[in-house]
């Protein structure tokens, strides 16, 4: 049985990883877009992205578009793998619970 990934399991981090995982490999999402999708505040989102980044699950790219700073977050291969294992773990739990769930 797959294991629960404590880093991904946190609700906001799960949303971040789900959003990034829905993109093609190497494509990322801007911070503002992630904020809109997850409904998180700037500080909260930044802190959780930092946690995912430290775990090697996301890459954070900061650049200037014109004069505006733009932060883009991309799921790494390790992050995609961890997310897939976490989803498999969730499905196994549901299957193990059987049809009465």
């Amino acid at each position: 049985m797959a294991d629960l990934d404590d880093i991904i399991h946190q609700p906001l981090r799960l949303k971040i990883m789900a959003a990034l995982n829905a993109l093609p490999a190497s494509a990322g999402l801007e911070f503002s877009k992630l904020k809109k999708l997850t409904g998180a505040t700037d500080g909260n989102l930044g802190a959780h992205i930092e946690t995912l980044s430290k775990a090697g699950y996301v890459a954070v790219d900061k650049a200037f578009v014109g004069k505006k700073p733009q932060t883009t977050v991309t799921a790494t291969a390790a992050g995609r793998g961890a997310f897939a294992r976490h989803v498999a773990y969730l499905k196994e739990i549901i299957e193990a619970a059987g049809p009465e769930m």
Binding site: A22, L37, L90, A97
Partner: protein, 184 residues
Amino acid sequence: MTGIDAKQAASALSDIESIAKRVRQSRIYNLASLMLILWGALTFVGYLATYLSPRNAGYAWPAVYIAGIAGSFAISASGYARTRTRSFDVRAFMALLLFIAFGIFVSWFGHFTPRQLGTFWPIYFMLVYVIAGLWVGYAFVAIGVCIIALTLIGYFFVGDAFDLWMAFVNGGGLILGGLWMRRS
């Protein structure tokens, strides 16, 4: 390590599916928005040219389509570098050609008046928006239905300024729709 029960697992999977759906829709809107703005601007020019010089409408509209197709390829190429997704490719081009060919076929058999032609084409195009929108996002349905309704209002109630009306309704409508999609 924290254990979770089946109910929590189901809730987490539902959250994942919900956000993935929103991301996919947002990407479709983002890719489509520039196309809408491009075609809106070109359609605006096409109708304005038809209004100002009806005799040259036969030259204006092929030019609009050629510029639109070239622009669509350019937008797609530029978007591919960022998103790894092509919004307009050879298959889309072939589909558009077939779609236009069928429209020409219907127009030819229908012996439409210029005013009827100016009504038929936007309704024909917007019908595709409405049908596609049922699968890819209701913004397309809203844009299509609004433009169809305003086109019909123009056909029945706007007099000689019909082409000018259509420049704003069809061209302006697509531009506004594209801007709206970029924000959603």
